[in-house]
């Protein structure tokens, strides 16, 4: 959730390729060069990763704090995200919105996002501004001083963000309701945007306490990617970040465990304006660090990636029961979610859509995927990785994601190698384990009975 503003085949074997151009399909294997980076940890615990790349005179500076909406304080749902917005307000030595002056006004950009597990701040600037941004990130790590007026006005912005994303978007309420319907105990059950009454209850004292608790060098990863000279970067990082003190207290961590799902459950969510009803089938996923993660990502791609994916071909194209259908493997530091979802086609009963969705997912549990289909999704995933690496921002985010969520920066390279090794049997095994042998939650989204 950014503080910034504007910002979804059964017939695989039956439909053989025939033309000369198309017959060439199994393509030469795609080589993805490893990302070269260096990594060190300062005495105060700050993890620093440098990714040199000189394809443009730009540099990306990113600070990923290991705190997310799972860490919202009690009675303060949405607080981690509200806090993210406040990091653009005043500090001891920076005026409110001065980050915009240091980035946009010199030809750069800045933004941030909050997920269940992390809060990440990122800038892209012409590389001669690197030192300035390192100073500024260290400053807001150390000296945040939000004032009441800015707190109140930015909280109003976050409430408008909630209205825009949840209340004023056709399937906003559906997406917002899924975590609460799925998780039984884990704080992942709170949607990242929270609730307006909890946001209204927040105070400046909460802001100071949250910063002191989580915004500290031993709970952060600094990633710099792009056009810089490594020795110079090290000197600047030492200069501005080494002096940020490491608190003596331990960083609190979520200890609640999600109990096993022991039965199938079903929840119906309603909205005042539901153009076409929708349904999601949700299973619990292993942590992103699990050895099963690459096979689950391949399974998700087989089911939901692109027009040729199984769910689109079966539900949208052949059976015409859905207007959209997809599959998401939302893998997290803790237990994530595997979701198959679909929006009904006009006039189709939701029960029929749900049955078709379940049948197609279960086919991947029962039968191994073919070699050509498996090769297809691998090249899709590898190409997608290459696309994100074109910019300093994309490079930095890929390494940060591996380091912070995956637990090790090396995974930015080893995950792609692991992806190549996934076999049809691997896919079938993980689908049996996490879907076939597991219980699921069904979430249906339908029109309010009270529609005028």
């Amino acid at each position: 959730m950014a503080p910034c503003w504007l910002r979804l085949g059964a017939a695989w074997s039956a439909l053989a390729l025939s033309g000369a151009a198309l017959a060439a399909a199994p393509a030469p294997s795609l080589q993805v060069a490893p990302i070269l980076y260096t990594e060190r940890v300062l005495a105060n615990g700050l993890q620093v990763i440098a990714v040199p790349s000189h394809t443009s005179p730009m540099v990306s500076v990113q600070v990923w704090y290991h705190v997310g909406s799972k860490d919202d304080p009690p009675g303060r749902s949405g607080f981690a995200h509200l806090f993210e917005h406040l990091m653009f307000k005043s500090t001891r030595h920076l005026r409110a919105e001065q980050f915009d002056r240091l980035t946009e006004d010199v030809g750069g950009s800045n933004n941030a996002f909050t997920s269940d597990d992390v809060t990440a701040y990122h800038e892209a600037v012409p590389s001669n501004h690197l030192e300035v941004l390192l100073w500024a990130e260290a400053e807001r790590m150390s000296n945040l001083e939000v004032v009441q007026g800015n707190f109140v006005s930015e909280r109003a912005v976050v409430e408008e963000e909630y209205r825009q994303r949840v209340l004023a978007t056709p399937y906003g309420r559906f997406g917002d309701a899924i975590p609460g319907a799925a998780y039984q105990a884990h704080p992942y059950k709170r949607p990242t945007l929270g609730r307006i009454d909890d946001l209204e209850a927040a105070t400046l004292a909460d802001v100071a306490a949250f910063h002191a608790t989580y915004y500290r060098p031993d709970n952060a990863t600094l990633i710099v990617a792009g056009d810089f000279e490594p020795a110079q970067l090290d000197a600047w990082v030492d200069r501005y970040f080494a002096r940020v003190p490491r608190p003596a207290t331990a960083v609190p961590r979520v200890e609640v465990e999600e109990p096993p799902w022991t039965r199938d459950r079903s929840v119906t969510v309603t909205g005042p304006e539901v153009p076409l009803p929708a349904i999601a089938l949700v299973w619990l996923a292993p942590p992103v660090t699990s050895a099963d993660a690459p096979a689950l990502q391949v399974a998700a791609a087989l089911l939901g990636r692109g027009e040729s994916s199984r769910l689109n071909q079966a539900l949208v194209y052949r059976q015409r029961v859905a207007s959209q259908a997809g599959f998401d493997a939302d893998l997290r530091i803790g237990p994530g979610l595997l979701s198959a979802s679909a929006i009904a086609a006009g006039g189709r009963p939701l029960a029929q859509v749900g049955a078709a969705l379940a049948a197609e997912v279960e086919r991947l549990v029962r039968e191994p995927a073919g070699a050509a289909e498996l090769a297809k999704v691998k090249i899709q995933l590898l190409t997608s990785a290459l696309l994100t690496r074109q910019t300093p921002e994309g490079l930095a985010a890929a390494v940060a994601d591996a380091a912070v969520l995956g637990g090790s920066a090396t995974r930015v390279n080893t995950d792609l190698a692991a992806l190549r090794q996934v076999s049809a049997a691997d896919v079938q095994r993980v689908m049996q384990r996490y879907v076939g042998a597991a219980h699921r939650v069904t979430v249906q989204y339908v029109q309010d009975a009270a529609r005028p």
């Binding site: 503003w5 910002r7 017939a11 439909l15 390729l17 025939s18 198309l22 399909a25 393509a27 795609l30 443009s56 005179p57 730009m58 001891r92 030595h93 002056r101 240091l102 006004d105 010199v106 030809g107 750069g108 950009s109 001669n128 501004h129 690197l130 030192e131 300035v132 109140v152 109003a156 912005v157 408008e160 963000e161 209205r163 825009q164 994303r165 949840v166 004023a168 056709p170 906003g172 501005y240 005042p272 304006e273 153009p275 076409l276 692109g306 027009e307 040729s308 194209y317 207007s323 929006i343 006009g346 297809k376 090249i379 590898l382 190409t383 997608s384 696309l387 074109q390 910019t391 005028p452």
Partner: protein
């Protein structure tokens, strides 16, 4: 700071000596000074031409292993016949739904087995099939692009399937207040001209479109002498020409001339402020639009003016509405530049009860642009932000291809790409003030608010006495008058 290739390269040479001496005494209370500027070099795209008239434009980005390929037909929604809104869009969408040789599923599978996806769509004065793949897959990808553009079948079964899918999509789109506000505002600023109609079609027009209509549009406009192959990424000019010849060299144009569509621009509609009553809307969506003349040498002026007004996070509108008052998650303005006309369009969502206050703030900021010059610091900052966004957009092959396509569709030379930065950098405060005073007058502005009307209609009527309010059930996206047939005056 950031400049076109010539002098920028000189700057690069100067930077090396200075960087090492940047270390200095400093307290931590003030930001360090930036180092010497670093150049951004933009290579001019290379244009070639096949004997059948197909233009081949290459924008190089060596080393990235990726190419974005776009076959752009220089005709689009403006060619939709009356009552057949969405025809160009459906024609483009059906290109990838089956050819003489392959079914829709086979085409999708083939493209995705190359790592990309066939993406076909139509806009104003353009229709395209695009794909982004790694270099080793480019030859096979272009074979698919050529097959879809040249040999699409428009099979009746696929037409019916697409029709139902698009009708479902419209149900979802029409549940968004911002979609309805934007459609109504487009009609208000472009009046009865072709630019006023919904390019994506309407529930009525989508039901009327027949296979013969699709075949006629395709035969008329999809021809090599009305098309450009844009290749952006990791290949050279010889390879571009060889691939273009291989896949498009035998494409023949029909001997007749291309038809000229009906007038695209007309006088704006008389209604200045309209409300679409959406009782369930969780927010009010506001669109303010102003018709602009066709852009010419003033293109950069309009772009910088828009950046000052609402183009980026630190624009005036976002400062006043989001940052200072907390009234919205964000406001955005843009120049909708079409070949024969243009419009300034501001879009924002706010809680229903704030809608009238936000409209007044929008109007005040438009007034200010024409009344006072932009200050030097603000102008320099907003120009830099715009130039920076432009430069960063070119860092990906898809962004580079989109920038080149935009120039071509606007009737400009693609080789002009590097000069865009200098043009933006040269815009003055005087030029912006004059442009705003000449074109953004209060009588030309059109405002549409879609939302829970009882929450804001009274306050809005106080500042817009001629307000026209229309219940959602009466909103007609096909109406040429305004937002509902025959409804041109105030309604209590």
């Amino acid at each position: 700071m950031i400049g076109p290739r010539g002098w920028a390269t000189i700057l690069a040479a100067l930077c090396i000596g200075l960087a090492a001496s940047a270390s200095r005494a400093q307290d931590y209370a003030t930001a360090p000074m930036p180092g010497p500027p670093r150049p951004l070099t933009i290579d001019a795209p290379i244009e070639q031409r096949l004997s059948n008239g197909l233009r081949v434009v290459l924008a190089r980005r060596p080393g990235v292993q990726i190419v974005t390929a776009q076959l752009v037909v220089l005709s689009g929604a403006e060619a939709d016949p009356p009552r057949l809104a969405g025809l160009a869009s459906m024609t483009a969408a059906l290109l990838t739904k089956g050819t003489r040789h392959h079914s829709a599923p086979a085409l999708a599978r083939a493209a995705e087995s190359l790592g990309g996806a066939l993406d076909s769509s139509a806009g104003w004065h353009e229709s395209e099939v695009a794909i982004t793949v790694t270099v080793p897959q480019l030859d096979a990808a272009l074979a698919l692009v050529a097959e879809t553009v040249r040999e699409a079948r428009f099979a009746p079964a696929e037409l019916e399937r697409l029709r139902l899918q698009l009708l479902d999509d419209l149900k979802v789109e029409y549940a968004r207040p911002e979609t309805l506000a934007a459609l109504a505002a487009q009609r208000l600023v472009f009046g009865r001209g072709a630019y006023g109609h919904p390019a994506g079609g309407t529930p009525g027009s989508l039901r009327r479109i027949g296979r013969a209509d699709l075949l006629a549009l395709h035969a008329e406009y999809y021809r090599p002498d009305n098309s450009v192959l844009v290749l952006a990424g990791d290949l050279d000019a010889d390879a571009a020409l060889t691939l273009a010849r291989r896949h498009f060299g035998s494409w023949r144009a029909a001997p007749r001339r291309i038809a000229t569509p009906a007038a695209t621009v007309a006088d704006e509609a008389p209604t200045t402020t309209a409300v679409i009553e959406m009782p369930q809307a969780g927010q009010a969506a506001i669109v303010l639009a102003v018709p602009l003349p066709r852009l010419g040498p003033d293109r950069a002026t309009a772009a910088v003016m828009n950046e000052v007004l609402g183009g980026g996070y630190s624009s005036r509108l976002n400062q006043e509405i989001r940052i200072h008052r907390g009234l919205s998650y964000g406001v955005h303005s843009g120049i909708d530049a079409r070949l024969e006309g243009a419009a300034l369009r501001v879009a924002i969502q706010t809680k229903n009860e704030s809608a009238a206050e936000v409209v007044a703030l929008l109007q005040a900021e438009l007034d200010r642009l024409g009344a006072q010059p932009v200050g030097a610091t603000e102008l320099a900052a907003r120009r830099a932000a715009l130039i920076g966004d432009f430069g960063r957009g070119l860092e990906t092959t898809a962004g580079l291809g989109a920038a080149v396509k935009a120039l071509i569709v606007a009737g400009l030379a693609p080789t002009d790409l590097p000069n865009r930065i200098a043009a933006l950098g040269a815009v003055t405060a005087d030029q912006i003030q004059h442009y705003a005073a000449a074109h953004l007058g209060a009588t030309r502005r059109r405002v549409v608010v879609a939302g829970e009307a009882p929450q804001f209609a009274g306050a809005l009527r106080a500042i817009a006495p001629d307000l026209l309010s229309v219940p959602l059930a009466e909103f007609d996206p096909e109406s040429q008058d305004a937002v509902a047939p025959g409804r041109r005056g105030p309604r209590k």
